[in-house]
Amino acid sequence: MATTKKDPVLVVLQLTGANDYLNTIVPYTNGYYRDARPRVAIPENEVLPIDDELGFNPNMAPVKQLFDDGKVAVIHGIGYENSPRSHFRSMDIWHTCEPDIVGTEGWAGKVIRDLDPSGENVLKGVNFGQGLPRALALRGVPVTSVSNLESYGVLSNVPGVGDDRDQILERFARMYSPAVGTGVVMDYLGQTGRDALKGADIIKAAPEKYSSTIEYAETPIATALRDVARVYLADLGTQLFYTQHGSFDTHFNQPPAHIKLWTDVSRAIGDFFDDLKEHDAGDNVIMMLFTEFGRRVKDNGTGTDHGAGGVAFVIGNQVKGGMYGTYPSIRPEDLTQGDLAPNYDFRGFYSTVVERCLGLDAVPIVGGKFEQLDFV
């Protein structure tokens, strides 16, 4: 156990596009699996076995290694009732914890709010990606969103500015200084601009402070997780990181696509945790992987279509590794509309992490009390 008590840190990795459960944790000895997927099933001898029924996708070796070290919890059959099987709607449901109405407040935004009620640290929650996912959207909660850490910042790309950038930024800061008599909105803009500049300055120092022997791959997900590591290790007070990878929407030509997706993601995860280990900084970090739903049991010829029940993962030193929940039955008579029936509400998954790792009250964050699992 670490001797220093550090703040808990959550890394949310969203697998966008609906990752295929059946080919991720594979029921490789199940006859129904092979019957339903003549073209898309993973050969029995390629699977990385967990036991004599289930195994990891062959391209997930780094994650399997972490699983064998007891650091990965596999959450079976996750989802919610009456999945609309629409990417957008389903992702919104995962982001807002509102399966029945259109929600606008993000669960992760509420987490950030509860971790830093005064909103003092604009870097408490950091998203690596474009725009701001709805999961992080909550009025009054500042979240920093970085699409490229190297070039992040105000006026970072203006033609003709070049070497004068520092001087231009100082001018920008003065342009946004408090100005008497210009009104409430101007004041607000001024404050917002100055805070953004400050946040950008702070976060941009992270790469300079970072050194590591780990050589991450040159893939977008590896870059994102390396940026998470760099900002985390720079000790800026960030407690929630959010990023995504995709697209897992493998309707067409699933086998080669899924290979690359999981190779890239797994290697990035492996390198990330190795990086944390090298810095002796892994104990308080926990990573959640989720996707908006799983995919159909029967293949469509070259790929799979939208399903319902899916799989989620939690990875970290605090995790009590193993499998949790029940793999939904793939017998045709047990399916809903041809899909795996979810049996575990995703809000319980969030609740477990929010309460047991972050020490927050999960009920207002996920909108109710849901069954927690003992993976931490």
């Binding site: 929600g103 725009g131 001018r171 342009m175 200084s177 100005a179 909105v185 917002t192």
Partner: protein, 467 residues
């Protein structure tokens, strides 16, 4: 030649009634006169529509496209390239008011159909627009009226029609909502053709008489065997409707009001302005064009300079038009649409039927950085046609002293009004380089670079966030 005041007023009109206009256009329009320009804007049918043959020939994937970003991009193309600025601005207004989101509808071309309907109905009778909206398939699905049945009503559409689209909270009862919902039973979408194997087909409005509750209803104090048309007729005649619509038009076109949910307790900032717009509604039997005529010609409008925080759409489209970077069919409209999404306004996908929060609530740290960077990157790029033309215009004014240099830039970008703080910094920046010089190639290159940086600073200013 129109004077500075006339140009400034015309710039204000074009920013609000459209997406801004470059200097030459402002001079031409000011030359025609303000009222004549307002009339021209109010009659888009007299200008050429977007040339769809040209658009779809270059971008065949844009016609009935499936992907959200392409549908958004198609609309962005129209906003930038339209010859009918007010028609297109009204579309944005109605989209923000009748917020329908692709997250649930999951049918981008169907949303494009709704947008096209706003284009044709947007300046006509409000009553007619509400009927078209009630029969619009995307709306029927979005607010569940296809699940509103005789004997088992679904109140979603009935409620939002009254609460968000016409009268506003506090002007009707829960019973009125129920009775309205009964009236709309049977208004549904015909059987959908599945996507496989032939691809997407548009949905169709269908009236199912066997599912329609044709019984007596009491709605807002009147009794009859009302159907949806009748409900809308009654609603359109309510003073609360005229008032609510007037306030929305004021909030979008004149000056930022507090957020809509507080409107039943917070009075308008300018009650007399609202009264004038309500009068225009009453005098014209609820015609939006008539209200806009009164609005644009009013003193309260003309004085409301820079009192509106640009929405992401206005910022992105306006700056792209100014920089002259997206005229005519070319790749990149979907990226522009994505930029608006990253700034907080994903076209065709408002977060809920309550729509985006506008005014200062468009701005948070992340959005501000994106807005500043986007605008500065465009206006700082002197290779773009619109920016280049500003450089040439300044070159034509000779060896400008710092103050004239700054003023020229502000004039060409707007004209833009700025605060003392901004002016101080821009002047300081101009002074570090001395007068602009154009006698040698090296001097010209340096001057051009300085102009680019100055324009970028102006684009990055707080003042630029306002229209």
């Amino acid at each position: 030649m129109p004077d500075k005041q006339e140009i400034a007023l015309m710039a204000h009109l074009m920013r609000r009634a459209g997406f801004g206009a470059p200097r030459e256009e402002l001079e031409a329009r000011a030359g025609n006169g303000y009222e004549a320009t307002v009339e021209e804007l109010l009659h888009p049918e007299n200008q050429a529509p977007v040339d769809e043959d040209l658009l779809y020939r270059f971008m065949p994937g844009y016609e009935l496209a499936g992907a959200p970003a392409i549908n958004q991009g198609e609309w962005v193309y129209r906003m930038i390239n339209t010859q009918r600025p007010l028609e297109e601005k009204m579309v944005l207004f109605w989209h923000q008011l009748f917020a329908t989101g692709n997250s649930k509808v999951d049918n981008p071309p169907e949303l494009t159909v709704q947008i096209a309907m706003f284009r044709t109905q947007g300046l006509g009778k409000f009553r007619d627009l509400l009927v078209a909206l009630a029969k619009n398939p995307a709306m029927l699905y979005w607010l569940d009226n296809n699940g509103n049945h005789m004997g088992a009503i679904n109140e979603n559409w009935g409620r939002e029609l009254l609460e968000l689209f016409s009268m506003g909270v506090g002007n009707y009862s829960e019973d009125d909502i129920k009775e309205a919902s009964r009236a709309f039973t049977g208004w549904t979408i015909g059987t959908k053709i599945p996507r496989a194997p032939l691809g997407r087909y548009l949905w169709n409005f269908e009236f199912k008489p066997e599912d329609h509750d044709a019984g007596q209803k009491t709605f807002l104090g009147q009794t009859g065997a009302f159907d949806g048309d009748d409900i809308i007729d009654i609603v359109a005649k309510q003073p609360a409707t005229a008032r609510f619509l007037a306030r929305h038009l004021y909030n979008f076109f004149v000056a930022d009001e507090p957020q809509v949910p507080s409107w039943n307790i917070t009075p308008p900032n300018d009650p007399e302005a609202i009264d004038q717009l309500v009068q225009a509604y009453d005098d014209s039997d609820g015609e939006v064009r008539a209200m806009m005529r009164v609005l644009f010609n009013s003193e309260f409008f003309k004085k409301a300079r820079f009192s509106h925080v640009k929405s992401p759409a206005e910022l992105v489209i306006g700056t792209a038009r100014l920089a002259g970077s997206y005229q005519g069919p070319r790749p990149g409209f979907d990226k522009l649409a994505l930029e608006a999404a990253y700034q907080g306004q994903e076209l065709l996908n408002p977060p809920s039927v309550e729509s985006w929060h506008t005014g200062s609530e468009w701005i948070d740290g992340g959005a501000l950085v994106r807005r500043v960077n986007f605008a500065a990157n465009l206006l700082g790029d002197t290779s773009l046609p619109g920016v280049h033309s500003m450089v040439e215009s300044i070159r034509g004014r000779g060896a400008l002293a710092p103050e004239e240099f700054v003023d020229s830039c502000l004039e060409l970008v707007g004209p833009l009004e700025i605060s003392g703080t901004t002016r101080h910094e821009l002047l300081d920046q101009a002074q570090t380089g001395g007068n602009l010089a154009w006698s040698t190639e090296a001097e010209s290159a340096e001057s051009e670079k300085r102009i680019g940086v100055m324009l970028a600073l102006i684009a990055a200013s707080r003042d630029f966030q306002f229209a």
